[in-house]
Symmetry: D3
Subunit: 334 residues, 6 copies
């Protein structure tokens, strides 16, 4: 997807240049993993024009395999971004309708070939939101992954401005989620996508407490027995420049909480959740059995993402580990 | 329409910034006329988001009235532009499908109100090319203009990469052209849109001669009796930086030819034809009966357009007159 | 007025590009109102050259009517801006002497025509500061507004680096203020322009308290019986990036205080006071009788201004209302 | 003087950034000479603000001595530049009225001290054009130079948009020119400043021939007996991107002509004449008695100037000599 | 290699930004081939820091395999580029001493592994010029290629500012050239590298004629019997913006000449020779036996390179074929 | 030294432009002093190419004398800078090996001539770190300064990524420090360069207290009897955008502490220590005997440096005094 952003903090209509980069939920996760040294492939459909090619080349630059990209369709999806400041939030204008990706159809991808030798498949709630056929392809892929005993993870990623093709998230998503092993989301995602709300929790308090997340996680795991872990990102929006950031993980028995980072001078928060997911998958793959470490890695990785321009998280494992180990001082390395 | 261009001569995929301006055939003509001091209104359909608003504001900046803009639909049409050099031509990628403009429907515009007090209506072959409903609205407007005795002009403007909704230009355009008083085009337009080719002319010669244009013009006027003048732009493409530029006008009896300009260091040729049309309408309105002067003004105005970045022709009447009077020396004014 | 600013936080002499936008006290108020949907006209004098024209076009872009602009004089006023950071304050270099605006003369504007159908006239202390003739025109306009029963507001806006033509603010301003209905200022303005100081207040305390403002407001209303409301902006300068921001309003009987906003990552504070005034006028016009709401709207509108580059406040009514209603979280809208 | 130019070929009002550099007739000559290794001092009056300081620092960067700059006055003179293309000429908007330089007064500069050890004084027709007092200071300096047996040169440099303080060039200049040893100008300068026209020459021919220059030069030398050489720059404006360029020198007995350069892709022609003068003075100082070489050096140096952005000619003696020796191929040096 | 260029036509010291891209003789050839769809690998040594990584990522973006890059050493080689105009040539400042590439040592690369499955090996005269060990590695690779029956090509590419480690090109290169099958160069290369000059040719004529190239080619093939084809690029430097461009090929029996292109508005000529080589190899691989077509493809491909910014030739096979087929008009594709 | 920085907060590899400025420890001190009005000369060795010349010109712009610069060697040292944010620290990649400066040799500089009329000599630990010969020249200069009774100051400035020529800081530095009168450093410098650690201090506490600095200072003065004052900069790294900043001075008898500044929105922290030293030397020269004032001036000056882009501290004495006097509010000056 092409991201066209006004420079600095300029509003739409205030700048006659736009910064053009590429991004999108699943691509962002793929780049995170590639940067951490994990072999990764990104599957999508791109138009056979110079913009589609440039998008593919950008992914290839990071070492993301693009061999199974399906070429076709009319246009590359676009989103326009205006970056907010203080009490003025950022704005996103989606222009993804009729994109090549939304026109993907079951049968276009040879998933058996894609998954040959793979151990993990990740999807997000963005894909089933853009068209029925994309939702169908998503299900097709998940089923094949299930068949091949590949771990499936998802980021619920509810976006109210998508889901315009006539079906609701709550109608489409459960079937997909039911076949998923690892679920990432936040309270809003759980409510809007799965209709799950915290129980026995006083949400009128100023801040939602950890118990709320445990309640939601328990309900998810009860409803979707395949699910082994539910992870929630915790974002506190002090203002557009300053967020707090953390996450909790529930493995069905135990709740792990990560430290809370104060991100006082955000450079770019778009892609924050995706970088969390990238860190999480890296952690699960690298330290199997140490969910606490995986969670901490995910939070630290995505904390760093907020300091990096663009959708992609351009950090190394060493940089994340340094932050996990407590060095958040931002000293000059020289 | 939003125009997103790579800076300088960079290729698509080579730049992470794009220059964002607004343009489009009819808008370009409107801005030309506004710059020449002619009261002008631009009617289109724009999405009710920050991009649609910015587009409207840009037109308003030039004094183009936008009171009858129809607000609605999903997206602003986009075209991506890569500027060529020497033997590498410029490239345009259209991304206009499903734009707000293409979704315009008959009845959305109160043409009687639009035309109240107006003397001229201009349309181009771009509009009927984008959707059936846009073609219908175009016809609706032309009919109303005919009813109200308003002069109607058109630029045939054939674009092979549009016309994708199932009908051909040759099926749709004749009905519209038949109700038009002043027709601008070039040989390719005549052939592709009207199926009219030069007669008794040896086109195997190196350059198409003026007689060819007369033959085509005669045929157009025979077929479309309402038509009073046919004007043809003459572009000689030495290379992407250097074009020759002129035009001829046939009024049914006499052929007027304008001087040929050598534009040796083109800044931006997109919108060249539209600036010609803007100059022509200005000329017809300002010097009625002096078609020769109108033609010369149109050629000089559009010659200057090639030296100006963006779709719009930002020149004054005085600047065009100075060039018409022979001062092409480009001396510093200080 | 042309605003030429060094990019980012660069100092004068450190950058070979300058960002060129337009602004100025009254123009900023006009643009605020136009953005809020209020029909508004801006009257000034501009030079008949490409810079004056560009300034007019920029206003027209926002829908500000410029029909009564007087064309003439030698030059467009300029101010140079260097944006500070932390403990280094921003710097402004005025270059407004002998501008077209300063050369405006009584009789050049047909105020009766300007005010035809108008309900409000706003002026600022900048205009009488630049030349005697500008002060005369200001008085001329105010008198006509009084005659036509149009509400008159002013922003005292004391600038020590203006007032160079031989008369002091305290000599010129009282006559103008005496004919004004709504007065905006701060403690320094009151002291320097009107010679009014807080009474019975211990100003040696760390912060000037609200009582001080009430005392000053009472004195203003006693001295200028026409005045119906006195409003004061409250800016706390933590440092160049972080200000607190609020306002108080005294209607002769009651003091209204707005919430205090912490603007922790200022994008551009120039024009903050003007955006306050724009919000205030909008509020008075929209919710007559609800001064509290008008004040809150003004404070919220101008709080948002601090997040927007340039002199103009590019926000909508909805955005201001959202902040007024308490959502200062700066979350992404997507 | 501050030069504010739109980037690329953008028109005024089309760009929200301006390129800020420094320049001006005499400063440009000074920088040329400093770049050639000649000790040189620039005397002017600058405002004591950050813009004046930046201007001084820029000159100091090139090694131009600024020890006798007079600090005072209100503002730095400005000129706005829009760069033309093909048949659209560049535009200059002067904003120099009331500059610090125009406010310079006789007695402010200790010319005896300035000229101590100096061998050459250069002035241009710009200085006496901006104010009576500047003309007076110019005369003061020339007289002192005459007294101290310092060679005096001038560039007549007629600018119709200056000379606004009530006197004409033809009233002021002759007294100054009469005390000058070396005079640079072109036919228009001679006519407008000195009232001298070519005699016995058919100027109706397409191009002014060399004889015309000789006639004018002879008349100048007859009228101003102190004058030892008259030099004329020859610019042929094919269009705004392509000029031909050369010069002729008359020493009272013999006419020297330089080769004609075709400058087919001009980068920046502003300052071309000043760079000619800088080259000429360098040549006279370096090769006394070899006027032909000095003239050729001047033409080659200023030919190169057209390829360099900004007012200043950033070339070395070696680069000029290489071109003089015939290598105009523009090959890569690596 | 990192290329740091001043923007536009600015001189060194005139810009405080530099455009950073990557390039270098062999890398440029590799990217050309990758763009044409040929599987290609680039072998070099890069420093293990963020600059070395960025260089590798850029190559990977084009699909160039970088699996055998040797990581180590201190620094990435740099060259600084100032782009000339008209009679001012471009300047290159090399800063390649002690680069990682120059520190490459025999044994660091497993050439047998690199060449596994390969059909072609290309080297240039740049590599043996930077250090003795780099020359040794070059020989090592060529010998292995010879052993494995891989076609070897070279571009003689003489650069006088390299060759600083104590040996001359004429001492080092012949041994390498002797093992090479296809040799690209120009007259200067032949003279400086191989000591071969045209025989029986009057070089005092204005232009070196084709016979000169045949003479040189014959001598090369006589001296190096392995050599099967000698190709010469023909550049005519009208000025820095306008070059003519062509090439000739001698296969030992017949001389093929390509059309001469007039490149009148060069965008970037650096990498022109490399793009020629890339086109040539593509042609030899694609149309074996049709040397004429290969030569024409090479000339057309490199002609297009002159219109593209940066070292790399970003063109497709279709674009080259279109130009070969005679369409040099640079029309807009839309 | 050339500083090449990615713009904004972009990472290496994320930007295709780099911002090019000049800087380096000693040069930064020199520019600080020149800006404060102190006559100052900078002695180094620069390559005789356009980059070396540009570096010299930049210093000359500030009025730093460069008359004793030694011209020669191969290259200008470079450092690449990536600016961090929040918990991601800035990164510096040094590329200084084999620079002209590192190739400086004893005897190349006529120190007696340099020091003629001088009162102060400052060196930093960077110089002896880059090569043995540079260390030798440093010693040569210090000895001559000692001989001529010139005050010698140093900034220990330990950089672990330099010191690569085979000797350790602890082997080279003591001989130089022993001849120095005023020593600036921090705890890490003292430990790594001099092997001096705080005594009797519990460093396990969260923050190093002032006693630690006194202990280190005492040890330094005991070991180096020539030393008269030891000054320590105190930087608290809250994160990459927010540092606290102060300093302490020990004169052998008394400890002076400066206020602590919270620099909450750092623009550029590189050169912070150098600007401290510049302020300190200015203070010692201006207010001899008032070490407290000198220290406060140094801290305030370097606090302001953190708000200024580039290595150089572009502030005036008045600006520093204003901050010293307590005005850290960053209000607009207009």
């Amino acid at each position: 997807m092409l991201r066209l952003a006004t420079p600095g903090f300029l509003r739409f209509g205030q700048s006659d240049t736009l910064t053009a980069t590429f991004g999108g939920g699943e691509a962002n996760v793929a780049v995170s993993l590639a940067n951490f040294g994990i072999p990764v492939e990104f599957v999508t459909r791109l138009p056979k024009n110079d913009l589609g090619t440039a998008c593919m080349m950008e992914l290839r630059k990071f070492g993301v395999c693009t061999d199974h990209v399906v070429w076709g369709g009319e246009r590359l999806g676009i989103y326009f971004l205006e970056t907010g400041a203080v009490s003025r939030g950022s704005k996103v204008i989606y222009d993804r309708a009729n994109s090549s990706a939304s026109g993907i159809q079951p049968g276009m991808v040879d998933w058996a070939d894609v998954f040959d030798g793979a151990g993990w498949f990740h999807w997000t709630g963005i894909t089933p939101a853009i068209s029925q056929s994309a939702a169908d392809v998503c299900l097709e892929a998940i089923q094949k992954a299930n068949d091949m005993d590949i771990t499936v993870s998802c980021d619920l990623n509810y976006r109210k401005n998508l889901w315009k093709y006539g079906r609701k998230a709550s109608e489409v998503m459960p079937e997909l989620v039911a076949r998923t092993d690892i679920i990432l989301g936040n309270e809003e995602d759980a409510a809007m996508v799965l209709g799950i709300h915290p129980e026995g929790v006083d949400v009128t308090a100023g801040h939602v407490d950890a118990a709320a997340y445990e309640s939601v996680s328990r309900q998810i795991m009860n409803r979707f027995p395949r699910c082994k872990k539910v992870i929630t990102t915790l974002r506190g929006s002090v203002n557009a420049n300053h967020n707090s950031w953390s996450g909790v993980l529930w493995d069905g028995e135990k709740r792990y909480e990560a430290p809370i980072y104060q991100i006082t001078h955000i450079v770019d928060r778009v892609g924050g959740g995706d970088s969390f997911m990238g860190g999480l998958i890296y952690g699960f793959l690298t330290w199997p059995g140490d969910d606490r470490k995986a969670l901490h890695f995910a939070v630290a990785a995505s904390c760093l993402k907020h300091t990096i321009y663009g959708d992609f998280n351009r950090v190394t494992v060493d940089e994340v580990l340094k932050l996990m180990e407590g060095d958040a001082s931002g000293r000059v390395s020289r």
